[in-house]
């Protein structure tokens, strides 16, 4: 087992870290979250210019040939900054689905736009009744001549408002919860019959409810083989779990370190509150939760980097379970130890906690992944 980064990975880490420290202030983040786009388009272009949007794509597709390790390297730093730019939705999820299952033509059409920052994507896979079951799909794709007609409804589509293209899961055969018969389609977000209702999320991102009403797509929209889309979808989602988990690790690091610093400064009864043993122990427990999560992050990334299979899936679920539990603990205690300040909008603490809370829900919460871990 080897936990060391390559020179390129270290440089990437330093590059993202430097940007987060110098050019990604919390105040600017808050302001950008209120903009029409919900993030900074200038930052997004900078991400592209620095090569971050192409890191995880193969060199043949115009990227840098990175993978799971590079995903955690960047995402952990994004967690430090509480980044709201849609890296997860565009690069990891939508881009990931095309990376894993797209045809050469589809990759040529969509990936360059992702990599140069000119295009945004979204993966529409959630349905209201499905909870975290990726196979519970009522949206249908009915064969129609050379193509398909999509009908259905997708919920909480991350980055839906900004997406130029959508990757959509739909049922081409089988019953509502069958694992076979699921297909993925990539289509222009402005295709006739696609309608959206946009909204902000609790953690300052943007999402949409999307209705597909007799949406006609060509056969070339099909991602992978008809009826075999679940495996592609699952892999993209597991990439997503790894990314948000690493982001959570970054969030937790900020929370425990800021809390320690605050408790060194804040005085009560004539002494820093960080001198009180009960608070010290609580901060140590926060530190421990972060370290435990970080260790499982490395384990999951290494498993994913070695090849996607049941061991990798198991490691990813283990990581997500830990992140869910640890994130809640670290977030709650950071707020608690900051006292009333921790509950205000002006302080970053509560915003990190909100993001951690949402990350627990994203792609399956603790209970879901614990169940999945036990069955793999």
């Amino acid at each position: 087992m080897d936990f060391s980064f390559t020179e390129e990975q270290t440089l990437l880490q330093e590059s993202v870290s430097r940007f987060m420290q110098n050019d990604y202030s919390f105040d600017a983040r808050q302001k950008n979250s209120q903009s029409e786009e919900g993030f900074s388009t200038a930052n997004w272009q900078t991400f592209a210019e620095l090569g971050w949007l192409g890191v995880t794509f193969s060199e043949a597709d115009g990227g840098f040939g990175g993978g799971a390790i590079e995903t955690i390297v960047m995402s952990e730093q994004f967690g430090h900054g509480l980044v709201i730019e849609p890296f997860l939705a565009t690069v990891v999820l939508a881009g990931g689905a095309l990376k894993h299952g797209g045809s050469e033509a589809q990759k040529s059409q969509y990936l360059p736009g992702i990599i140069d920052g000119s295009s945004h994507g979204a993966l529409a896979f959630v349905e209201p009744q499905a909870r975290f079951n990726l196979a519970d799909i009522t949206t249908t794709a009915t064969a129609d001549g050379d193509g398909y007609v999509l009908n259905g409804y997708k919920a909480v589509v991350l980055n839906g408002p900004q997406a130029n293209f959508l990757v959509v899961s739909a049922r081409t055969a089988g019953e509502q919860r069958d694992e076979d018969g699921i297909s993925l389609f990539v289509l222009d977000a402005a295709t006739a019959g696609v309608s959206r209702r946009d909204y902000p999320t609790v953690d300052a991102f943007r999402a949409s409810e999307i209705t597909f009403e007799n949406v006609k797509v060509g056969a070339d929209s099909l991602v992978g083989e008809a009826g075999q889309g679940l495996a592609i979808l699952q892999q993209a989602i597991d990439d997503g779990v790894l990314a948000v988990g690493a982001e959570a690790v970054g969030c937790m690091e900020v929370l425990y370190k800021d809390t320690v610093e605050y408790c060194k400064q804040r005085e009560q009864f004539g002494q820093p509150i960080g001198k009180f043993q009960v608070l010290q122990h609580r901060m140590v427990d926060m530190f421990m939760e972060h370290e435990q999560s970080k260790s499982l992050m490395f384990m999951a990334a290494m498993r994913m980097a070695e090849g996607y299979g049941s061991e990798a899936q198991k490691a990813v679920s283990a990581f997500k379970v830990q992140v869910g539990k640890s994130g809640k603990f670290v977030g709650q205690n950071a707020v608690q130890l900051h006292g009333g300040m921790g509950m205000t909008e002006e302080l970053n603490i509560g915003h990190y906690f909100k993001r951690l809370t949402i990350i627990d829900t994203l792609f399956g919460n603790v209970d879901f992944h614990l169940q999945r871990y036990g069955t793999l």
Binding site: K275, Q280, L296, M302, E306, A318, G374
Partner: protein, 396 residues
Amino acid sequence: MQFQLFEAEQAFADQVEEFIAQHWLDVAEPRRRLSAWLNAAGSESLRQQWYRSVVEVGWSVPHWPIEYGGCDWTRKQLHIWLSACLKYQTPAVLTFATAHVGPLLIEHGNAEQRALLQRMATFEESWCLGWADRRAATDSYGVNTRILRTPRQISISGTKTRVIDGMTAAWMMCVTGGEGNEPNENRSSIVLLPLDQKGVKRDPKAALSTGRAMAEIVLNNALAASWATLDVPLDELRRRLTGLAANDLSALADSAALTEQVRQLKDRVAADPNMEFGLLRDCDALAIEASGLLGMEQRAITQGELPLPAVRLRAQTLWGKLSELQIAAFGYYAMPFVDSALADNEGSVDNTRPVGEMDMTMVMRRMLSPAIATELGVDLHDSLAQEVLGLPVQDE
């Protein structure tokens, strides 16, 4: 980054597995091995047989320098060896002598003291720690065992209480106060004291668990050689004994054993149709945490980016959780205080349990077994708060 062991590491791991299979797993049935692992009466010959094999292969003190019998191993090799010993529940390779006394003597001892190393490395002489005095705390001011130095020897008088392994040890690392009447931290000494002598009287001290023997040891002008004072500050000794020394990797090998025991527990829980479903999920949750502990161990030994006390603290926590789950899994059979591994004539009370599996008494014994950190009143939280997080020292 790479999850799998490198080729050379895998070859070493295979060699270790083969050695343990040949010299431990294949030499006795599970029940006898468990007895020996627990240091139970009647298991001495099996323990000695194991130790002889370890000494013969040269792996008894791999963490010591080569000139004192150590191996030229990487930190990963050490981790592989110690992990396997814990996983297969061999008699402890890391004893108080090999884990603590030996490294101290190597680093701080004089020539006469270092001469004691050889019999530690061969497991011929065991050691104990004499710190707490009767009716005294374990802080430095509380030590009231007195010493009297003459040019030829040191005379020690006092009563050491709650001495782990004190009934069987050949030597004691004895913490003493000064020569005057008043306790004085600055005059504390650490003396290497042979216990098989006239001035030493040992009485068993009942422990909550029936495991490792504790002793109350009365020292009445017990004699140590003039060279027997170890030149180590008491605070440094405390740091080392509680696992805070920066180079102490000796106990960072729990994850493999935890993972194996969780797996066994889960198999048993899963096979029982009346077992609560939540327990199965708790087993999975603990398996995940054990996996995280493996990551922490690896980061601590290979990258050095994680402080050792953090790994120890995590391991302690997870062993506690495992014990809780095991107790839960026993159901009504959590109640009998009968040691099936030792009840050779009648066997286990719970006859549904396979021979050689841990029983409730063993679990309780492990939970209650005194640890040095507990004995010295040290909480790793305090160390981590101050040394890793940089928080201020609490008021006395």
